[in-house]
């Protein structure tokens, strides 16, 4: 309990510093709060958030349901305005970053347009940023294959299973090849094996293209397997409880899961979360 409530133990930006000093600051959040006004009492969705994410980092948000993970991601994406505090994305404010098409966002729900088939849905962001038709179809072929939907180019969203829809929406975001990827529980509806596969593919893409990834997940294993930093959040009001820097190598393999370092990190996260739940 004292941990969550003493401001001193709140992570500060220094904790996120990584080995490579060449990294730019990609996201800088300073004293940010967000309140949803509501008739029967305001909801403090985010409170006093301080966080710095460097470019090339893979940062996961983890925390109990309703703790504000989605809200924080939405603030970064300029989909929600903070009530107070400042936020810089790639040195500019969130709106400019969005206008510069800096990031790709994968929503918690698939958000596919029902009048477009899967291929056309994936083409949408590229059409909007005016990429060539040829490039579009190359990207679509590549990423639909990657997510295992190569046979579903012409199907409409309502003809796919929940997990397939989610994979299509991931392919759509990847097609755009943005510097910053914001992903809200992208693999929540996938089975373990597909999920492992997608995790590995995401890691590969991330390291090959030097992207920054901000990732919301409920799976401790997934957080450990993917992240360079893990941000543990606590609810009511939503705040950052702990920021853990991963001691594991940047590029991990599935085999790592059997290593003791992996389990050590996972337990650290688990106990941080359990502590939080205990308070509840």
């Amino acid at each position: 309990m004292p941990v969550a409530q003493q401001p001193t133990t709140l992570s500060n930006s220094d904790q996120l510093a990584t080995k490579s000093k060449s990294q730019r600051e990609m996201i800088n959040i300073d004293n940010l709060s967000l309140i949803f006004p509501s008739k029967d009492g305001d909801v403090h969705a985010l409170s006093d958030i301080n966080l710095t994410i460097k470019s090339g980092d893979f940062v996961s948000f983890i925390g109990p349901s309703g703790c504000g993970k989605t809200t924080l991601l939405r603030v970064i994406a300029d989909l929600e305005r903070p009530t107070s505090g400042t936020l810089k994305v790639n040195g500019t404010d969130a709106e400019d970053a969005r206008l510069n098409r800096l990031y790709g966002y994968v929503f918690q729900a698939p958000a596919l347009l029902p009048w477009r088939n899967i291929e056309q849905n994936c083409a949408l962001p590229m059409e909007i940023s005016k990429q060539s038709k040829e490039h579009q179809s190359n990207q679509i072929d590549k990423y639909l294959k990657m997510v295992g939907l190569q046979d579903f180019h012409k199907k409409f969203p309502w003809q796919l299973s929940g997990g397939m829809q989610q994979r299509a929406s991931i392919a759509r975001a990847l097609c755009l090849n943005p510097d910053l990827l914001l992903m809200d529980e992208p693999f929540g509806a996938l089975d373990e094996i597909t999920r492992d596969h997608m995790n590995m593919e995401l890691l590969r893409i991330w390291s090959e293209t030097q992207k920054t990834v901000v990732f919301v997940t409920h799976s401790i294993d997934e957080a450990v397997l993917l992240s360079t930093h893990i941000v543990v959040m606590s609810p009511r009001p939503g705040r950052i409880m702990k920021v853990i820097e991963s001691p594991l190598p940047r590029l991990k393999t599935l085999a790592l899961r059997d290593q003791p370092e992996f389990h050590a990190l996972a337990s650290e996260i688990r106990s941080a979360l359990a502590h939080e739940h205990a308070i509840d």
Partner: protein, 316 residues
Amino acid sequence: MPNTFKNFIYTALILLQLFLVSSSDIGFYQSNPLLILLLIVSLYSMAKLLAKLTTIENQYTIVKPIIPSLFAFMLVLTWESIIKGYAVSPVLMPAPSNIFDAFINNIPMLWADFKQTYLKAVLAGYVIGCFSGFIVAQWAVKSKLLRDGLIPLGNFMSAIPIVGIAPIMVMWFGFDWQSKAAVIVIMTFFPMFINTLTGLQSTDALHKDLMHTYAAKKSQIFFKNQLPHALPFIFNALKLNSALALIGAIVAEFFGTPIVGMGFRISTEVGRMNMDLVWATIVVAGIAGSLSYGALALLERSLLFWHPSYRGGRSS
């Protein structure tokens, strides 16, 4: 099969009523009030037959148009029976058979009326009205300023009764079809405007967020997200307007016209006690209106294949 037998009885009863109507003397209900029972029984039979037909509707698509036709047939038969059976004066209400005769005997005249009212006034007014309503709505959705001004004004204008506008339009645009087209433009503009606006604003919150993350330009948001979402609303307006336009043209013709046109025909022949011709013209109007409505509904169905109301599959 008892079912086939039942159906046979039902059909026979209806045919009996048909025979009664076509062979008896005028006023048969007055001379023999019990005959009215047959009408009631055959109405009941038809209801039964229709219910039966709907159950097999999904198996045989040809059944589909038969059902409303049979319904109409029964309506017409009842109408004919009552007019003939109670010897209702043709000055009040003609029998369907008289209407049919009037229709057949006056095809060139009815065609000329149709050309004047539908092919000139209605088409021109409908196209201009719907198109401009759409264009203005599409401006309004971009500009809050325009929207705040136009919506109350639009509500105000759509409350203006056509019957009041028609004489003014006749005064301004002359007696010919142009004034009718002007009435239709005014009538159809606001339904289109309001529907398009609502439709363009009705986009799914999640899809709105999605376009937001793409930093899509207004025109891109419009064509790729808002317009598809608005299509069901736009079709609503198109269908509503197709009925409104015809009414508008006919009403406007009451206030002055050259001596041709469906509205002219109706108002003049009422005065001349040619009720059969009046109803023949009404039938033409009904057919024209229903056909255009039906055509729009078909188009809607094919364009909105993805909409939950038309497609199968699950929610997405």
